[in-house]
Amino acid sequence: MARYGMALDYKNCINCKACEVACKEENGVELGAEKHRIWVGGNNPEGQWPLLDIASAAFLPSQCQQCDEAPCEEVCPTHATYYDENGVVRVDADKCILCSYCMNACPYDARYVDDRTMTVDKCTFCSDTRLARGETTTACQNTCPTKVRTFGDLDDPNSEISELLRTREHFSLKSHLGTNPKLFYLT
């Protein structure tokens, strides 16, 4: 039993997409631009060449925010979306009827249809691959060149993530929605 979360030192992100590929290879995710569990957001810089606004073009690595109050779980009519024993929002492929309510409910656009399993799939924190083997990192975290991510147990005060959240300022995405994400962006 743990309460897994992730802290992102997002200013390190160079949008190299190592995390996306590691995720797809580890978890056997389909190819296709829409079939992703993890992505990097970014904006074109504001202004005209050569006076471009550097700050307007930051990268924001993202994935399922692993909400404590997950809208996708709330709306699921068949309870296919559920919290596992570690607080990770998971999907039961046998129960999913592809109604796509969860896709509409998710404020982070973190869910996609897996055409092979006919499931609205999502990031699982590598629960059924790496964590199931006893590893302590997710694929995206482990491979990252600039070490953006720190994954760990929020309930363990001695975990690295707990220490990071005690010592570094951070924010959550769309915190006003009351979803209580377990992804934290370090400033």
């Binding site: 390190n12 190592a18 590929v21 290879e25 978890n27 060149p145 070490k147 760990g152």
Partner: protein, 800 residues
Amino acid sequence: MKVEISRRRFLQGSVAMSIVGASAVSATNIFASEHDSKKHVVGIPDTITTKTSTGKAEEVPFLCAICVNKCAGFARVEDGIITKLDPNPYFPKSRNMLCARGNAGIQTLYDPDRLKYPLVRIGERGDGKYKRVSWEEAYNAILNGTDKFKGILQILDEEKDNRSTIGYCNGEGLSKEGFEVLMGEKIGTPNYVDEISICLETVLGGFFSTWGTYGEADLNNADYLVIAGANRAEAIITPDTLDLFKRSKGRGLKTIVLDPRFTNTAIKADRWLAVNPGTDLAFVLAMTYVVFKEELYNKEFAKKHMEGIEEYKQHILSHNYTPEWAEKLTNISAKNIYKTAREFMAARSPIYYQGRRSVFSNNDFQLRRAMAIFQGLSGNMDKKGGIIYGEKLPLPKEDINAPIYGQALSRFDGKGIAIPSQKTGSWIQFRNMILEGTTPYPVRAMFMRKHNPMAGVPNTKKTEAFLKKMDLNVMIDILPSDTTMFCDVILPEASYLERTSPVASYGALEPAIVLRKAAVKPLYETKVPEQIYKELAEKLSKPLWENTLKYDEDVQDDTEGMSKKELAEYYKENGYDLAEPWEKSVTEQNEEKIVSTYGEKAWEILNERGVYYPHIEEYHKQININESEYYPENKKKYTTQGDKLKVKCNLTNLTKKGVDAMPTWSDDMQFKVPEGQFRLVTGRHAQFTQSGTTNNLMLRDLVPTNYLWINSRIAEEKNIAFGDTVEVKSSVGEVTIKAYPTEKIAPNQIFMLHGFGGSSAEMEIAHGNGANDAIIIEDKIEPVYGAAVMHDTNVEVRKV
């Protein structure tokens, strides 16, 4: 419910190009995979990505070869199939990471378009008609030819054993040296060209001649960085990329980026200076002017270590290289030049990043010299936070018994070049002289490996004509590249995940030795390169020796009256037995090297961890869930030079060669683009390396094609919208490409990613996808080494 999508079916379903590709290939497509149908093939996964299991798996240390960095990893092997590549935490150079390309290496291994069997050409060059043959038949075809092409024996006979009639080329990698031994030292031709003269030759030359090293920038401890034309967020170099971006954005490393384009590196900058292409030299000279004029340099260091500093000071001040002068040339304000120069010299540990990259402009050698001297003026050399000389762990060198061929003539492509490289030459000059027929003797055969000049050497039309001019072209490679399709004999090589490679040593601040072990057996009928070298050498050895005996008077004199036995001994003793360097397997050679230098235990550790350095078990400590300490702080090789350190400002010997002894600006270096035209700049990004990765399914999924960056205001004037097809035309060729209007580039410049637009119909994904920049880049060389100049082509752009 489970719907399986096979690798081949995915292609047919989603890539429009594949239809063209498939129809271009005859019904008896010997390139096509054996697993076209849904049937399971042992050793090849059924799906594109394979979810890792919770069951048993082997973790094999490997060294990535998807680019030049050599990052270390572990391959997860389940039932003989690689399901995942993970980073190796023990290697200080790659610091527990694999990039997108490194992760996608699986897709290259299992690429359905891979070369699978030896092939011999039965059609005309370039028409794609080949016959599948055995290895023995392929080697025989190289030796004796077929009814379609001449063999090497006949060519050497006709050329009276002038070995120099053979040219050869090879791309970067751990098995490159073996190919150089086979072709250069054993078969005996000097005519070698490789990636150096189409890449970073002036960068290495400039820094080596000034500092005595290229050095390593200690970006973990520097506090001020000028990074010019090196796009480290997209052209990843380890460990530089890993260290730099953990500390940019107000976190200890103030970062000034110079680049004509607003790159991902510029996004991480404190200041982005949109420099005009080819004018960095004026920027550095003006910064140097400020530093001398305001006496900001480290005088103690200069006095002790900088040779010719007074002459250089005089040179800079007397030329009046003021920031106001440079402003007009560079598009960087004088104010910013003053500011950057002053900040640089006031910083504790400033670095003007060396910037490993291709040669962009004619003055690149002098630019590197000016940068190196400017760094010297800060005194931040050979110490923590500065340019590190470091150390390298020694590995024993093999002794090669190289025969002497009296009939072989010397190389010719140094003509008109100040300091021509005797080893790797000048690709452009080599090719062009052969094409123009101005060589002192004919070059009639090309032996090529892991190299694709059709995409890498500027002016593809000329490269194609060059390949067609040859009597014999041989290729050893993994994929049927554009160049492969002009070859007569094609030998399929095992990819880096299927082979054990010669051990390598990587030096500097935290030196280590690394080992690549085969994670799976070679697929299909592919072979590891060293086995190919050996077998080819065995096939050629005796017949070529007979040819030497026939024409070489020195050998005839030596061997006159010898008995059969004596002759056999002479052949052996004088190195004419070509296969002798490969008597032992790579693994045996590796073991010998490591055990003799570092002991049995080192070999054990290296096999287990893939990495070894003395005291690794004691020194290596995981410091958090992501990062390790490789050496304790007091064991890092920050300072190794002491009084030996020299920064050479005034290289008077260069004047004898017609090269300026000190970096000097001349008017012909100005950035000029005729009205209505654009300067073409090229580059890379983090999801592709070169043409070698454009057929990778996973990477194509991330970046479907290359686009033409064109300033959005200009695009609007020309009525060009995103996705419109445009024609880009230079004096040497034209390509079509889709447009991407953006403010990230200047109104008089355009940009496209390098490596796209493949012409080989046998690479379904790469074929016809985007544009090949080599088709339109003019084949110009810089004067010092004869290296290709990549950013000196003006083009026209029109909507089609």
